[in-house]
């Protein structure tokens, strides 16, 4: 999967020595450290790595040793540092551009203050790693043998001389030339100046460190075993790419895009699951996909039948089931959505609901007054509020403008949309306004036709969707990984196809997931889909099965036309407004039933769909046994393809 940490050894040479005695501190003269020198490619970033021989293969040492070790160059983010040279910040947009400002890095100062190398007798302490981008120059010296003096751009860090007692220095330099330009210094012909043509690539790598939970380094530290294993699949991809020859050149930009995305999106599985290593599961025979039928929308009459005279809703499970199967007639929506979204408790009486609404009305207008009463002067000094307001104004003008509720220039619907979004900023100032939120509010306001009710229903919906919009977009990452897990269960062959097109992490579903298909379906169909989803039936995360259902309908086209990364993205984007909601819901429900009847469901799938809790015995389903279906062709590939703990095998 694109998530994997790519670890390729590009060059390796044993019998390279460090002579610690040449250091000033004067350690035992006879101590020579022998080790191997490598050039490695980690996720596109090229490192030079030196490891003493005795050091057994411990992947956790490869990139960053533990925090206590001072023997390895460790990258730490340094907010602020250098940033001022890079960019002069501009007015209120300071925060907007923060990220560029902070993506400068420096090396972590050695915690024990002893300088770059710890003069310990432990040979493992001589391990060293640095990125080729950090190389400033290499001086080639002869002394009966060749030794190289590597200088880093940061002058405070010194690298000990590397002595090539068994030759190999030329090969090393030649290999290095694949990644950097080595040019003779005009002043000193033994000195090769290093220019790194691939600065942006290394910078994007650094950016990953910025995002703590997803940084490769972090991942690598946490579970080097899995990360390295996953890396192997990339090696095969690499070979495959090489075989593709010239075609690769045209493929490269999309692939680079894909790889970068892959680094940003996945990685969750590794952090989330409690046990290290793989959960290996044979490809599961899911059996027949049961046929299901959809029903008519619930009528106003049916709704009233479920309501006691004093207002309590009765037989709620049955009611929810009816809504799941057919949705609601439009006339019922205004009331029913308040229950479905949790604004009204099902068991509340009419009286209680009236009281609740009174309180909520007060609370709403109190918050509304807060932004309404901000003077121009104040707003001039409040860049966040100003930015939220500007975004909201722009987006309100571009949300559902063909809908009668929002069309034209002076439609009151537009003002309501604006005011509710502004008030939501006061309700949750940390989140504020993020693009996509106007899409989530618009149908709710359309149904409620009431500012206060719409606001509180929106608040409830946002409670579910909040993570999608947060700074790290954790919700999006989680969902993409969950979706990928489901798709691999339901249709491994298709997922493999997508993966072969660098699309295995399903980035193209981004818009679907961010705003729950709001842009994919007609307005009326969005209302239907959302009310069905809000029943919480027939399983948790039903919307992910909706994704699978749509993909199931599109896979033939995608595979037959042999779509690549770009074409898949385009094809999925262009499905917008061409989907049939009833067909999709029907298929998604079928998929759910099919999965539910499966006995040996992978644990991760049960967790995603919340099926464990439905176990009648009250105990979680037994973890599936590890069964290896080795006779099936191609299973090895499947295993190595998976970076996640679950490896499906066909």
């Amino acid at each position: 999967m694109a998530a994997d940490s790519v670890y390729k050894v590009i060059f390796e040479h044993e019998g390279v020595f460090i002579h610690p005695s040449s250091d000033e501190d004067g350690i035992e003269q006879d101590l020579l450290v022998s080790g191997s020198l490598r050039i490695i490619d980690k996720d596109g970033e090229i490192f030079v790595e030196y490891k003493p021989l005795e050091d057994a293969v411990d992947p956790s040492n490869m990139l960053c040793a533990g925090k206590d070790s001072s023997s390895v160059v460790e990258w730490t983010q340094c907010p602020g540092d250098k940033s001022h040279q890079m960019i002069e910040t501009q007015q209120s947009y300071e925060t907007e551009w923060d990220m560029i400002n902070t993506v400068s890095f420096r090396k972590r100062p050695c915690p024990n203050g002893e300088g770059f190398l710890n003069h310990s007798h432990e040979r493992s302490r001589w391990t060293l790693t640095f990125s080729v981008c950090e190389l400033k120059s290499i001086t080639v010296k002869e002394e009966g043998w060749t030794f190289l003096l590597c200088k880093l751009k940061e002058a405070t860090t010194t690298i000990p001389a590397l002595h090539f007692h068994h030759g190999g220095s030329n090969e090393f330099l030649d290999s290095l030339r694949h990644f950097v330009l080595l040019t003779e210094s005009p002043d000193d012909t033994t000195c090769l100046l290093v220019t790194s043509p691939n600065k942006a690539l290394s910078q994007s790598f650094e950016n990953l460190l910025d995002d703590n939970s997803f940084g490769l380094v972090h991942k690598f530290k946490k579970d080097p075993y899995v990360t390295t294993l996953g890396g192997f699949s990339k090696v095969t991809n690499y070979i495959y790419d090489a075989l593709r020859g010239t075609e690769e050149q045209h493929q490269r930009p999309p692939q680079e895009v894909a790889d970068l995305l892959g680094e940003i999106i996945p990685g969750l599985e590794i952090n989330q699951q409690e046990e290290p290593g793989f959960e290996v599961i044979t490809r599961i025979d899911l059996g027949m996909r049961p046929q299901v039928t959809r029903r008519h929308p619930l009528s106003a009459e049916d709704w009233t039948k479920h309501q006691h005279p004093e207002g309590r809703m009765v037989n709620v499970p049955h009611l929810k089931h009816s809504i799941f199967k057919g949705g609601l007639c439009h006339a019922v929506r205004k009331e029913a959505w308040k229950f479905l979204l949790g604004y009204f408790p099902w068991e509340s009486t009419l009286e209680e609901r009236k009281a609740l609404q009174r309180n909520k009305t007060d609370e709403y207008f109190r918050m509304k007054l807060q932004w309404k009463s901000v003077s121009e002067e104040q707003e001039r000094r409040n860049s966040r509020l100003r930015d939220y307001r500007s975004l909201i104004e722009k987006d309100v003008n571009r949300t559902d403008r063909t809908n009668r509720f929002y069309e034209g220039i002076d439609n009151p619907g537009l003002a309501l949309l604006h005011d509710i979004l502004m008030t939501y900023c006061m309700y949750d100032f940390d989140l504020g306004y993020v693009q996509g939120m106007s899409d989530l509010l618009s149908p709710i306001l359309y149904v409620m036709e009431n500012e206060v009710d719409a606001f509180w229903c929106f608040v409830s919906f946002m409670d579910q969707m909040h993570q999608n919009f947060e700074e790290q977009m954790q919700g999006m990452k989680t969902q993409l990984i969950q979706l990928s897990t489901l798709l691999r269960l339901l249709d491994l062959a298709f997922w493999n196809y997508l993966e072969s097109q660098d699309s295995g992490y399903l980035y193209f579903c981004f818009r679907w997931l961010l705003i729950r298909f709001k842009r994919e379906l007609s307005f009326q169909d969005v209302l239907r889909l959302w009310e069905v989803m809000w029943t919480g039936l027939p399983c948790q995360n039903f919307h992910l099965l909706v994704c699978c259902a749509i993909l199931d309908s599109e896979k033939q086209k995608i595979v037959e036309e042999n779509y690549g990364f770009n074409e898949i993205l385009k094809h999925i984007n262009e499905l917008s407004m061409k989907l049939d909601i009833e067909e999709i819901l029907q298929k998604a429900e079928s998929l759910c039933l099919q999965i539910k009847t499966c006995k040996d469901l992978p644990h991760s799938v049960s967790v995603i769909l919340g099926l464990d809790t439905l176990d009648p015995c009250g105990s979680p389903a037994p973890r599936p046994t590890q069964c290896l279906d080795t006779c099936c062709k191609g299973h090895l590939r499947e295993t190595s393809h998976n970076s996640c703990k679950v490896a499906f095998m066909s």
Partner: protein, 202 residues
């Protein structure tokens, strides 16, 4: 060898609301949709054209501008042949941000020689009467920041839209002719995207 079509990737960058999506749609479909949604995620459209006897397929990428989505936007900068820096003449802040967009692009796009990269600057919405940015100001910025071509466009009434894209193509083609001669063969591997297709018909 016969003339081949080369695929050029251009990307529209600029603040939200300056009209990037509208410009793309105007150019590719020759329509202006006043009810267009704001962009979520990334989209692209293709357009075939001929410039100075070169057959070109333009792949035009359009992104969402909000900060929150930066990490999912910037990977798509990779492999761009040209960047259209866009602001709106009725929004001074969008003009002030041009420099930031340029930096963000260079930073994430893996641009080898930023000084030589073909940027084209678009001042959109010239049909609007209440301007906040004058033509002179914009031209000065373009001159001072790398002598970029500047076009005042309107997605609404189609002013200069096609011309700007054609100029973008010319810039890229001119770049390629230069680099194809300058890059020594052994470093071609490092070159982002060798485009033999273009070289052979020049």
């Amino acid at each position: 060898m016969t003339t081949k079509t080369s695929l050029l990737k251009v990307i529209l960058l600029g603040d939200g609301g300056v009209g990037k999506s509208s410009i793309m749609n105007r150019y590719v479909t020759n329509k202006f949709d006043a009810h267009l949604f704001h962009t979520i995620g990334v989209e692209f459209l293709n357009k075939d054209l001929e410039v100075d006897h070169h057959q070109v397929t333009l792949q035009i990428w359009d992104t969402a501008g909000q900060e929150r989505f930066r990490s999912l936007r910037t990977p798509f900068y990779r492999g761009s042949d040209c960047c259209l820096l866009t602001f709106s003449v009725d929004d001074n802040q969008s003009f002030l941000n041009l420099g930031n967009w340029k930096k963000e692009f260079i930073y994430y796009a893996d641009v080898k020689e930023p000084e030589k990269f073909p940027f084209v600057v678009l001042g959109n919405k010239v049909d609007v009467t209440e301007r906040q940015v004058s033509t002179e100001e914009a031209q000065r910025w373009c001159q001072e920041n790398g002598d970029y071509p500047y076009y005042e466009t309107s997605a609404k009434d189609a002013t200069n839209v096609a011309v700007a894209f054609e100029e973008a193509v010319r810039r890229v083609l001119a770049m390629d002719e230069r680099t194809d001669h300058l890059i020594p063969t052994d470093t071609v591997k490092l070159h982002r995207k060798p485009r033999s297709a273009v070289a052979c018909c020049s």
